[in-house]
């Protein structure tokens, strides 16, 4: 490889990108706009907690439950529907009182009260609800430890690690920001083919390897620098910064490879935008699923960007380290090898 040639080509591409008013302006506006969105969103979670309640029989003292400050109780008609609602993330927690609660109190036995918690429920919620149930039971019987309380964590146990909505959205914003550059790169390449400048380049001593290396550096660099800048400003690098930066970098390479595919499938600027928008929609689905839990299912794992979204989400929001994410990175590397080599192959054919 000729590094001097690659440097020249990258400088040329950057100059052309900055002179393309549409992409240069969109890039700048998107960066500012996404940061604004992030900072305008509430920095903390809502403190009024809605709790699901299944109570076939309500002991007299338990009537007070609705007066407990900071809680909103939503009644369910069956334990199964309560369990389902908590499992799907509609509520952080649910209380299920047994049908024989009064009989047990009267017999001096401990009724079995079941508490359900979603994976994202805070440890404080669990403790508070358990204390509240014990307190109400004490008022009913005049004895301490009048009930046995058991609880289930539905899904992975992330109790104590709930995050504000804007930190969930941060992932969506950063992926949208870097994936957009895939379209910018594809347009640059399509413009070169359309205007025939690629032919002029291909009769110089520059090799095709140098050309692809330059495009890869340009596309990856453009996406990565923006992603890095955004994550730094919005605090996305506060935990596991190296892992987040590495994932961002790998993600930028993946989107550059995808940009090669888009460029090879496009005949002009408009078609590159059309294909680009489709790719952007697909690539942002995993981040959307993280922002709105329960909206996507297992098939999302077939989208390569899932492994970027999942890793950045866990690392930046839950301080999850390399040990927890190595498999994601490995799969991501596999996708990169596949998409990048495929993209180079099809685009090379177009240059001929």
């Amino acid at each position: 490889m000729n590094f001097s040639v690659i440097k020249t080509l990258v400088a040329k591409d950057f100059r052309l990108f900055s002179r393309n008013r549409f992409y240069a302006l969109i890039t700048f506006i998107a960066l500012i706009f996404y940061m604004l969105i992030y900072f305008l969103m509430p920095p903390s979670v809502d403190e009024t907690l809605e709790v699901g309640l299944y109570a076939p029989v309500v002991p007299p003292s338990f009537q007070l439950i609705h007066a407990v400050e900071g809680f909103g109780f939503i009644e369910f008609e069956s334990e199964e529907s309560l369990r389902l609602a908590v499992n799907e993330g509609e509520y952080y927690s649910g209380i299920s009182l047994p049908a024989d609660i009064m009989e047990k109190f009267e017999a001096g036995e401990k009724p079995q009260v079941k508490l359900y918690f979603s994976a994202a429920a805070a440890a404080e919620i669990k403790d508070t609800i358990e204390i509240m149930i014990r307190e109400l039971s004490y008022q009913e019987t005049g004895q301490s430890l009048a009930v046995d309380v058991s609880y289930d964590i539905l899904g992975p146990d992330l109790i104590g690690e709930q995050i504000p909505p804007r930190d969930r959205m941060r992932l969506m914003l950063v992926i949208a920001l870097i994936v957009f550059e895939m379209m910018g790169l594809a347009s640059l390449i399509v413009e070169e083919v359309e205007q025939g400048t690629i032919r002029a380049l291909l009769v110089t001593p520059m090799s095709v390897r140098d050309l692809f290396a330059a495009k890869l550096i340009m596309g990856t660099g453009l996406a990565f620098v923006q992603g890095l800048l955004f994550m730094t400003i919005v605090g996305g690098l506060n935990s596991q910064p190296l892992l987040v930066v590495t994932t961002l970098f790998l993600g930028s390479i993946l989107f550059t490879g995808s940009g090669f595919f888009i460029a090879s499938a496009s005949s002009d600027m408009m078609s590159s935008m059309g294909w680009g928008i489709i790719a952007i929609l697909v690539y942002t689905i995993p981040a959307f699923g993280i922002m709105f839990p329960g909206t996507v299912t297992g098939w999302v794992r077939f989208i390569p960007s899932y492994y970027i979204a999942e890793t950045i989400h866990k690392a930046s929001n839950f301080n999850s380290g390399w040990g927890d994410n190595w498999s994601n990175l490995l799969i991501l590397l596999g996708f990169i090898a596949l998409i990048l080599s495929g993209g180079i192959m099809v685009l090379r054919r177009k240059f001929r």
Partner: protein, 288 residues
């Protein structure tokens, strides 16, 4: 013996069932201009693509400066300059930036873009974006770009197509200067007069084959009809044309008879043009 700088040996290119270039053979010696003529679709551009390493031949060889193009693409490309028929400049960059970019890609040290731009008549507009140039200016810049590395071989594809006479003349002068410098030039053109004026040799290409290759003078001698054309006024005062074939045993007698019997108003010799010869050889015109 003169050095063969461009050699095509049985060069063939096929796209599916279509044989675009069919076993062509020719060579061009150092410092000469080869005019490569033929109608659209004759295989000229495909030939240029194979010679410049843009396309691999299906069979045969293209040798430039003694190197097999297919095996030494980068080495060969460092010695050549190519001016394309279609304008393929970076429109959002200035002339200066366009030339500097290519000078860097060719690894030219101490490149003086201003002098080259002055040579093609673009002084004073060096820093303007190419998108603001006229067609003639763009074409001159294309020629300048092909010269940034002072190439040993220059491929020019329709360099004066669609230009005004002044711009065309400027480009022709540059071509002649390059030959003077020692460059070997492969000139593809539709313009028969241009080919006649500039070329040391011309090759006629038709349906993928070279149907004639020689100096313009030899082709004219071989295929052309030399004649005298006269405009005369006869006894009744009517104007008529007379044609006397040259190079025949009766030519002198016919000329004598013409001047003796008729009033000659104008007389001039007529040579066959390259276009006439092309039609004679292929049965079709260059514009077809």
């Amino acid at each position: 013996m003169a050095e063969n700088v461009i050699v095509a040996e049985d060069l063939t290119c096929q796209f599916g069932d279509l044989v675009a270039v069919d076993h062509i053979n020719f060579n061009v010696t150092k410092g000469k201009i080869l005019g490569f003529l033929g109608p659209n679709g004759a295989g000229k551009t495909t030939t240029v693509k194979m010679l410049t390493g843009q396309l691999k031949p299906k069979s045969g060889k293209a040798l430039l400066l003694g190197m097999d193009v297919a095996k030494n693409i980068e080495k060969v490309q460092s010695k050549i300059g190519v001016c394309f028929e279609e304008t393929n400049l970076y429109q959002k960059m200035s002339a200066l930036e366009n030339l500097s970019l290519f000078a860097k890609l060719f690894g030219v040290r101490g490149f003086d873009a201003y002098t080259l731009l002055k040579r093609v008549g673009l002084e004073g507009r060096e820093k303007d974006r190419v998108e603001n140039y006229s067609k003639g200016m763009k074409q001159r810049l294309m020629v300048a770009r092909s010269l940034v590395s002072s190439p040993e071989i220059l491929f020019l594809d329709e360099p004066t197509s669609g230009l005004d006479p002044t711009s065309s003349e400027a480009i022709r002068n540059i071509i002649l200067e390059e030959r003077q410098r020692g460059a070997t030039i492969f000139l593809t053109t539709h313009d028969m007069l241009e080919a006649d004026k500039l070329s040391d040799y011309v090759a006629f290409m038709n349906q993928g084959k070279i149907v004639a290759l020689d100096t313009p003078d030899n082709l004219k001698q071989k295929y052309g009809k030399r004649a005298l054309k006269a405009r005369v006024s006869n006894a009744s005062g009517r104007l008529q044309n007379r044609e006397i074939a040259l190079d025949t045993p009766k030519t002198a007698e016919a000329i004598h008879s013409l001047f003796e019997k008729e009033r000659v108003l104008t007389i001039h010799s007529e040579e066959a043009t390259l276009e006439d010869i092309f039609i004679k050889i292929t049965g079709r015109g260059l514009a077809e």
